[in-house]
Symmetry: C2
Subunit: 144 residues, 2 copies
């Protein structure tokens, strides 16, 4: 955890951004809820517990910054809000998601299942892939 914060701090510094207390509190919330898919509002509520003076705008600005630095990925599951998902350290692809249409749970697939598909797309469509988004909608093991 601390090491991970340290590395994020370096990443910010390398682009001449600072890890302010507000930003650190926000990052900690993301780290502590790595399995969830928090909206900006969710993050705001959780950060406020430790840092009550923080403003919602700061949270939005921090999440935008982290997205830009590819520390988090911004994703939208079709309900009106954006959600923010920490990237695995060293991962060069965004992980996949399983969204249950019964209970709303969102599970993650960390494994990259798209290697073969991407080779086909790159050669057949002559498209140079930089990133991807793959989400399955269906019924999770709990709801079956």
């Amino acid at each position: 955890m601390e090491q991970r914060i340290e590395r994020i701090k370096k990443q910010l510094h390398s682009q001449s951004y600072k890890l302010t207390p507000q930003r650190e509190a926000t990052v900690r919330v993301l780290l502590e809820n790595e399995d969830d898919h928090l909206s900006a509002e969710d993050v705001y509520m959780l950060v406020k517990e430790k840092y009550p003076e923080i403003g919602l705008a700061t949270v939005y600005r921090t999440l935008e910054l982290l997205t830009e630095l590819k520390i988090v990925d911004k994703i939208n599951f079709g309900d009106g809000v954006s959600r923010y998902d920490l990237r695995q350290e060293g991962a060069n692809h965004f992980h996949h998601h399983l969204v249950c249409i019964e209970c709303g749970a969102v599970d993650e697939i960390q494994e990259d299942l798209l290697d073969d598909v991407e080779k086909v797309v790159e050669s057949r469509w002559n498209f140079q892939i930089k990133d991807h988004r793959l989400t399955f909608h269906g019924i999770c093991y709990r709801c079956q």
Copy 2:
């Protein structure tokens, strides 16, 4: 075109919805711009050319209805708006997208490249897939 409208009309009737002039005008805009990925506002502007009295709320309600009937798919590429994409007739999967990060173009892949991946997900994660969303972000052939 006319036959396609006719089939959509039947599909609506089978669920006891009507194909009103407003709905028909909206469907026509979608058919005429099948290659694009129009937002509700885009659709509204285009429908207004032929049917100036239409209201934006009606367009939203029609798009929602068409989504429910799986005539269109609602998709979000990460800019703040939902886009609406006609499903290929008879297609049982939603097609894939290539979004160019240089020029913003969105190309479609009609072929289903996910058959193998879905088999793995269904058995390994015990997840019953009903639908999927796959988007690649990268550089299109035009921008290379």
